[in-house]
Symmetry: C2
Subunit: 310 residues, 2 copies
């Protein structure tokens, strides 16, 4: 049995997860936003409650994995820092080993953890790409069955490839990154840029990532057009990833992936039409997230398994 | 001892290569452009002369590798087809095994072969990216010491990522691919688009990939500006590759890479400024090709070594 911990800006979620990647129980606590000590205590609490509810003893745990935003130190087992959570070098490995059980504690970037969770739920994939569309565009890559993090641990920043050179300023400092267009933040920006063309949007309406999706469902053709502009931005970057990695499977995650085939069908068509193809290649299977918000817990839990196997 | 064969549109080059990746001798013959049979005969001749000049017997050969443009069938050992050479399903494995020696014969895409050649000459790299700037932009990727070709064998089409969405039409069918800007063909196009601004270019002058480089060396500021525009297009894509792969080393090949630091210095500066960086990451070493036109022979020769080791 493994423990997977998904650290987010609003909650810390811990799950007891079996070897097959199924969550036995999970428990969430609010993320303390004051100091390392309270953060570590809250993380421990989330694990202890999850264990208790699963009726699993600490002795039965083989490894603990933690997926967290921002920078992690895999060697020392630290959460170094995060844009949203004010811990600094939180010694999660040491703390959990001392207070719970002296087992391997692995730390990983949250998008990579989620990628691994989706990978283990994929159909017979060896090469695998995960894209998550949220505030930003995150990514994770599995090559030949192993999570790929590059030499310095920072590979897979798939949102930070330029698709519109000289375009929108991105949080990373570049101009025209995929993330600046294909994220939900990018969708909101595109919606705002075109709001005067969309009859369903009234002056003073709050615009969210759902706005054009909801209006399009009601038959608003202008909203549909703007929604499709965004889907095409997503598809351009996915086509790039297919040309680079030719994975068995590419999974699209993030809350917006729940829109399902409204998004996925046009993406599949676009990729089929525009991706590099010579002869009759086996094509990448492109699907929406299978496990949604649980991907982070499951992937974190399976970090140790991925590191040890093969 | 290995044999490496680099198949090109004008010549077939065979080399006798040792385990360290050094060429003992090489021999080139013109590429027959009529049929499979003459193509196969010429390939065999190039090998036989190289062996003779190296004073190496066929018995001493452990494996043969062939790098070729277009589509190859790694399983069956065929050169399936190529945009420049009119063979169809040329049975190179069968032919060389029958006429030379019954050893492993591996076939690979030419950019991947060249990537492997450069990889084995790199300084202590495990994750490695090769870019070649020529008529197109080719690429090859080594992950954890192994040539990465994706599930269907077609991964690493690094030139076919979009950096100017909606921009120049690319040979692959997309609009705005990196290749359409960063290739030498792209450089010529950019030079032509700006030729009226460059005093050194007279009406009727033939414009090549060297034009702005040569004029800039003579002090032509307008030519220098256009040259730098092209260098920036190259650097945008390289920054993307660093963000995706965070390799130990990225090598830039193709004849134009002989311009050396005129190109490489601004690329390094651009990547340093624009690539994703959190904390103090080990940075990718970005260098020009170490082995130039020999990369294809050396990489092809070492295909078997790469496949067998680790």
């Amino acid at each position: 049995m493994y423990i997977g911990i998904d650290v987010g800006g609003t909650s810390i979620k811990a799950g007891v997860v079996n070897h097959a990647g199924d969550i036995i129980t999970k428990y969430a606590v609010p993320t303390p936003l004051d100091n390392n000590e309270n953060f570590l205590k809250a993380m421990l609490e989330s694990v202890q409650v999850a264990l208790k509810e699963a009726n699993v003893k600490a002795d039965e745990i083989e490894a603990i994995g933690i997926g967290a935003p921002g920078v992690v130190d895999r060697e020392k087992g630290l959460l170094v820092n995060s844009p949203n959570i004010p811990y600094i070098n939180a010694p999660v490995r040491e703390y959990l080993q001392k207070n719970l059980k002296n087992v391997p504690v692995l730390v990983e970037n949250d998008a990579n953890s989620a990628a691994l969770g989706e990978y283990y739920k994929a159909d017979n994939a060896k090469n695998f790409v995960f894209i998550t569309l949220g505030t930003g565009v995150g990514g994770g890559v599995v090559i030949d069955g192993k999570l790929f993090t590059g030499t310095n641990g920072a590979a897979g920043e798939l949102g930070h490839v330029v698709i519109h050179a000289g375009g929108r300023k991105c949080g990373c400092g570049r101009e025209g990154c995929w993330e600046a267009y294909a994220s939900v933040t990018g969708l909101i920006k595109t919606t705002k840029e075109h709001k005067d063309e969309i009859k369903g949007i009234k002056e003073g309406d709050r615009i969210s990532g759902r706005t054009v999706f909801e209006l399009a469902k009601k038959g608003d053709k202008d909203a549909e057009r703007v929604r499709n502009m965004w889907i095409e931005e997503v598809a351009i970057g996915i086509t790039d990833m297919v040309n680079i990695f030719q994975p068995d499977e590419l999974v699209v995650g993030g809350a917006i992936s729940k829109e399902g085939d409204v998004i996925m069908e046009p993406i599949r068509e676009y990729v089929k039409k525009h991706s590099f193809n010579v002869g009759e290649l086996k094509r990448t299977n492109i699907v929406a997230s299978r496990i949604g918000g649980d991907a982070g817990i499951i992937g974190a839990a399976l970090l140790y398994k991925n590191k040890s196997e093969g």
